[in-house]
Amino acid sequence: MKWLPPAVAVLVAAAVPPFLGPGQLTVYVLLGLSAMAVVGLSLLMGYAGQVSLGQASFTAIGAYTAGLLAVHKFPPLLGLVAAPVAAALAAVVVGIPILRLRGHQLAFATLALQLILLSVLGDADWAGGAIGLQGLPYLSILGFELNQDRQYAYLVLLGVALTTLVASLLIRSRTGRGLRALATAPAAAEASGVPVGAYRLLVFAVSAAFAGLAGGIYAFYVGYLAPGSFPVLLSIEYVVMAVVGGLGSIAGALLGATLITLVVQALTTLATQPGMPGYAPSVLSYAVYAVLLIVIVLFVPRGIVPALRLRRRSP
């Protein structure tokens, strides 16, 4: 009955959009997009044991790939397919040199790569510079145009289901067992013949592809891209979501993305009430990210989902 909880989760998630208003549908779509990127990041941090502070660069690469293809009149569907591919390729290219780094060095290297990417995009005329790409078309599949929020909600749900499926197949495969060995004891894994470097690169590329797919959908949904849409803070937000839910756990990634998005959204709603100062939404969301991250790391170091599982096993 292992398939039952995911099936129920998909059904519940699919039943929600018809009941949501326009603003709430936007939250639903953005939540799903974060979830896709966080599933990938959680795999990377959980199995490769590395902090990446540059996951949003792959969201940006996916988004710009889809956006540039759309601007140059390529079929939107091609853009959507190209987004994860481009992100994965970029991950392989930068991954070969930087995945030799460990711990804080990799954290800074991924952060540096994102800053370089943002700076390059900001200066690049072919990518619209700091103003960005505007007037992107809606996504259309075989002549059918997706021009309503609700349609994007289902597209995103499909994307989350797809990334979750790919991630769980990867974890359960022979490769996945190698990855688990790698996560707990890299030296032992290497000694027993696990190709450590190749596997690390594989997880990095897969996690980038997920973020790239999220970026591709984002481009068509919002219809506008700028370097400022993918700040370093977005990467940190992904890390917060992954750590809060539990690293190396797909359910944890989904829960973390949902929890953080909903809490921040609730606070933003509260902070935009009449009479609240203009800076209240950003102040509250920064404070929430920070406090959740610190409290979870110090008191629930494995994250919420793994902690709940442990509790259930030991009554």
Binding site: V51, L53, P97, I98, R100, L101, R102, G103, H104, Q105, A107, F108, A109, L111, A112, L113, L115, I116, S119, V120, D123, V232, L233, I236, V239, V240, V243, Y279, S282, V283, L284, Y286, A287, Y289, A290, V291, L293, I294, V297, L298, P301
Partner: protein, 281 residues
């Protein structure tokens, strides 16, 4: 020729700020093994505090001193949260300091808003260079010299060094290791604050300037593998001068890339060397 001298001097000035920030990272990392991601926030916090104190009518010098003191306090607090709970690993400590850096955003926007801020530095020019750059260089030389003396010549410095070399042995000879860690965090905070206070008159500071600052500080410190203060100073100066030359002769829009690519190159070369050494052993 005059141009070159000008670029080099301004580069050394900015590089000194990177070196100060990087030295803060080194002090904290050596003693506690934590890489402090909130290091850039200390600089921003100190700089913003000085703008408020100056506006309140405090004289220069006093305002800057109080700003640095506050950054030292923020460092102590960061250390308490990131290393205070027994059993916190350095990796967890890094994520906690990342969280504290984001928390600083909330505090900074609440108190000072999200617009860039600055305050006047030392007025006048010397040989075409703003005198303030020379002040940065002088202050950095004195402070880093004093820090080196403190570590080499005082009991406290020896205790800190002992903790950095071998925490277990340090505890056996009666050194209070957690307290040394907190002291390192306070010193690191003050060094970061000093960097912020010195650099603000020549570069405006915003609440999210901490990312660029911490990356530059890390780039400087990584030359010495986050343990060698001398190489950190060299790294900072090199970075500052190369940035200034690129900005002067080519384009200011490539300055960030230059320092980042420099850092990546050092990191990757180091990882390659470490691997070769491991295989040779």
């Amino acid at each position: 020729m005059a141009e070159l001298v000008q670029y080099v001097l301004t580069g050394i000035g900015v590089g000194c700020a990177y070196a100060l920030l990087g030295s803060g990272l080194v002090v904290i990392h050596r003693v506690t093994r934590v890489v402090n991601f909130a290091q850039g926030s200390f600089a921003v916090l100190a700089a913003f505090t000085v703008t408020t104190l100056l506006a309140a009518g405090l004289p220069h010098g006093v305002a800057e001193g109080l700003g640095v003191l506050l950054a030292g306090g923020a460092g102590l607090l960061t250390g308490l949260i990131a290393t205070g709970k027994p059993g916190t690993t350095p990796q967890a400590g890094l994520i906690v300091t990342l969280g504290l850096g984001v928390f600083a955003y909330a505090v900074e926007i609440l108190l000072w808003g999200d617009q860039p801020r600055s305050f006047p530095g030392l007025p006048g020019t010397v040989a075409g260079v703003q005198a303030h750059y020379l002040l940065i260089i002088g202050v950095t030389a004195v402070v880093l010299g004093a820090t080196a003396l403190l570590f080499a010549r005082t009991d406290l410095g020896r205790a800190l060094t002992a903790t950095a070399e071998d925490p277990y042995a340090a505890r056996i000879v009666g050194i209070d290791v957690p307290r040394m860690g907190l002291l390192a965090f306070a010193a690191g905070g003050a060094l970061g604050g000093l960097a912020g206070v010195l650099v603000t008159p020549v570069q405006q500071v915003t609440f999210d300037a901490d990312v660029a600052l911490v990356v530059s500080g890390f780039a400087a410190a990584v030359l010495g593998n986050l343990t060698r203060p001398g190489l950190t100073l060299a790294g900072g100066l090199l970075l500052g001068v190369v940035q200034a030359l690129v900005g002067g002769y080519w384009s200011t829009s490539y300055q960030t890339e230059v320092s980042l690519i420099f850092m990546l190159a050092v990191l990757i070369a180091r990882a390659g060397l470490a691997r070769t050494a491991l295989e040779a052993a």
